[in-house]
């Protein structure tokens, strides 16, 4: 399958191009937008929000909490040594270790999930280094028989560089 894309240098024109692709029947999930900066304020970038990542962080924190609580308690009970008049399982000092492991769990879960889902899973199989010069790429990864329609739509939007099929 040959992807097709065009390069733009103005987010307003990109918005028009994305809207035009939708109008000719291209689904949102098929439209690929790549840029060297996030465009949070623009509607074309409002897909693929990652709000679920907060739940992953919370779950990681819970795992860290459980690991910290088990670690401190189990090791203190394994060798019950009285220290400074404190109980064998000393909740106040343990709380410090448990807190640190909770936060560590949340952070590692967040970054681990980011790496797996955003990098290792693999994205579109095409790229243009001109993106790093500030251009915004709009394309379709698998256009099928709609290549001509998509190319025409992108051209009509007024790209800086006309649509190119990728080999």
């Amino acid at each position: 399958m040959t992807p097709v894309y065009a390069l733009f240098d103005d987010p307003a024109v990109v918005q028009r191009a994305v809207d035009a692709l939708r109008e000719v029947g291209i689904a949102d999930r098929e439209i690929v937008v790549m840029s060297s900066e996030p465009f949070e304020e623009w509607e074309f970038s409002h897909r693929d929000k990652a709000d679920w990542l907060y739940k992953v962080a919370g779950a990681g924190g819970l795992v860290g909490f459980a690991a910290g609580a088990w670690f401190t308690t189990a090791t203190q009970l394994a060798w019950p040594l009285k220290t400074s008049g404190m109980p064998i399982v000393a909740p106040w000092p343990n709380m410090i270790v448990v807190f640190e492991l909770t936060m560590l769990g949340a952070m590692l879960a967040t970054v681990g999930t980011l790496l797996v889902t955003a990098f290792l899973r693999g994205g579109p199989r095409f790229y243009d280094p001109a993106i790093s010069d500030g251009y915004i790429l709009v394309g379709v990864a698998a256009p099928g028989e709609r290549v001509a329609t998509i190319a025409h739509t992108l051209t009509a939007a007024g790209p800086t560089r006309d649509p190119v099929p990728v080999q």
Binding site: E37, P38, S45, R47, P93, V97, M107
Partner: protein
């Protein structure tokens, strides 16, 4: 501003990476020599034993612990300030965040070395790590030194990730603009970054979560470092104020370090177009605020001790107010309070050089503060038979000097190989807002209507 190749932003910020000046080699050679001297001094201390350092009964903690607390304090600048500014979405943060986050990572690394330097047998440092020994004994979780291990490692891990994540899109930019070995290295570091909307959303969500998580961790780290002292029944240490007092002092010295680092970067890398006077002005106001807060904490601490009039605490109190430590104490007050408040309260003096002078004073003052917390209390314990003196020895002075050189060396190398200002975040700051574009298009339409 044009968004594409003609935009000088990326060219300016990538220049140090792609072109190497003579000053870089000179700086690395000079700083590297000092670091080598420090390593040699440490080797000397290892060979001859801790006796060559000035620490002895009853003052077992001297310069090495002072430097430990000082550098952990410096580390507070970056990640904490950056995280707070990210969460409140302060627009002026963009050129500042990475400069700040780097300070945290390197200062933490340097600070964490000192407990090991202080050990008589540093090759046994792993004993503080939680692992079952041959006798199935675990570390004592009731010891503040073990809390240090967990807190510093959590903060270092979090700070490294917080620094590294937003560097990925910039690595991709360098990858696309370079060739040969540079392209291969930066390509690997970019982890295949393409800049899809999905990648941007996940990166930003992860950064938001990291910012939320790292703030309490940063506060906990210096609170726990303060527990190394306040959990001990030593005069003027066993105090409930120590946690917030240490955190405030850490942020104070951290901001001072950040101002100095930014001033040096601006001058050496010619970043005047990105590190504006307003950035220094904002940080100088923060420094002024922290100076006042520091004064408040010191007054509260000293007044409480003086009013309580406990004999063993008063011995330490008077040693610092008008005894052998008084010159250092009043230098500290001058550097931490009088100089910054005098300079930074007046707009005319709150310039970049003014902020740098005040910051240098604060660094000196905060180092003295750490010293004055540790040494006078250990020199004047409860029973007079355990009173003693401490004088730093050359080996301690050389190691201390080497850590400052190590910080400068690491910072120089980082600025050489990584864009010291986040390029993509700067671009976001220059983006047109959709409403503004729509408005201007409507205005243009109206204009065309009335034209013939």
């Amino acid at each position: 501003m044009s968004r594409t190749r003609n935009n000088p932003l990326a060219d300016d910020l990538l220049r140090p990476l792609l072109h190497t000046g003579v000053w870089f080699y000179a700086a690395v050679a000079a700083l590297g020599s000092v670091v080598a001297c420090g390593l040699a001094a440490w080797g000397y201390q290892l060979w001859h034993g801790m006796g060559v350092a000035g620490v002895n009964w009853p003052v077992f903690w001297g310069f090495h612990e002072t430097n430990f607390v000082f550098w952990i304090g410096i580390s507070h600048a970056g990640t904490l300030i950056s995280a707070i500014l990210r969460l409140v979405n302060a627009r002026w943060r963009r050129p500042v965040t990475r400069c700040a986050e780097v300070i945290t990572v390197f200062a933490l690394m340097i600070g964490a070395i000192f407990p090991i330097v202080h050990l008589g047998k540093p090759w046994l440092f792993y004993w503080v790590a939680p692992y079952p020994s041959a006798r199935d004994l675990w570390v004592n979780f009731r010891s503040p030194l073990v809390w240090d291990f967990f807190a510093i490692n959590t903060y270092l891990t979090g700070s490294l990730l917080f620094l590294a994540l937003p560097m990925i899109p910039d690595f991709a930019l360098v990858r696309d603009r370079s060739t040969g070995w540079r392209r291969r290295i930066y390509g690997t570091l970019a982890l295949g970054w393409q800049g899809t909307t999905m990648q941007w959303h996940r990166l930003e969500a992860a950064m938001q979560i990291m910012a939320i998580a790292i703030i309490p961790v940063a506060v906990s780290v210096h609170t726990i470092v303060s527990f190394d002292f306040s959990m001990a029944n030593v005069p003027m240490w066993h105090s409930t104020i120590f946690g917030p007092y240490f955190v405030a002092g850490a942020i104070f010295s951290g901001i001072a370090a950040l101002i100095i680092a930014m001033a040096v970067l601006r001058r050496q890398l010619k970043l005047h177009a990105y590190l504006h006077d307003v950035h220094f002005d904002n940080l100088a106001k923060l420094l002024l605020l922290m100076s006042l807060l520091w004064g408040y904490f010191v007054t509260a601490e000293r007044l409480t001790v003086w009013y309580g009039n406990e004999p063993h605490e008063m011995a330490v109190f008077w040693a610092t107010q008008r005894g052998q430590f008084a010159p250092l104490y009043w230098t500290m007050v001058t550097c931490n309070f009088i100089v910054p408040v005098t300079i930074l309260s007046f707009r005319r003096l709150r310039t970049v050089p003014g902020a740098v002078v005040a910051s240098l004073g604060v660094l000196v003052g905060m180092w003295l503060e750490r010293f004055l917390i540790i040494v006078p209390s250990l020199s004047n314990k409860q029973l007079p038979y355990s009173w003693g003196q401490y004088a730093p020895q050359p080996v301690e002075l050389v190691i201390m000097g080497a850590t400052f050189a190590a910080m400068a060396l690491l910072y120089t190398l980082f600025a050489k190989f990584v864009p010291i200002i986040s390029i993509w975040e700067m671009k976001v700051g220059n983006q047109p807002h959709p409403d503004a574009v729509t408005a201007s298009e409507d205005e243009m339409s109206e204009l065309w209507k009335v034209r013939p």
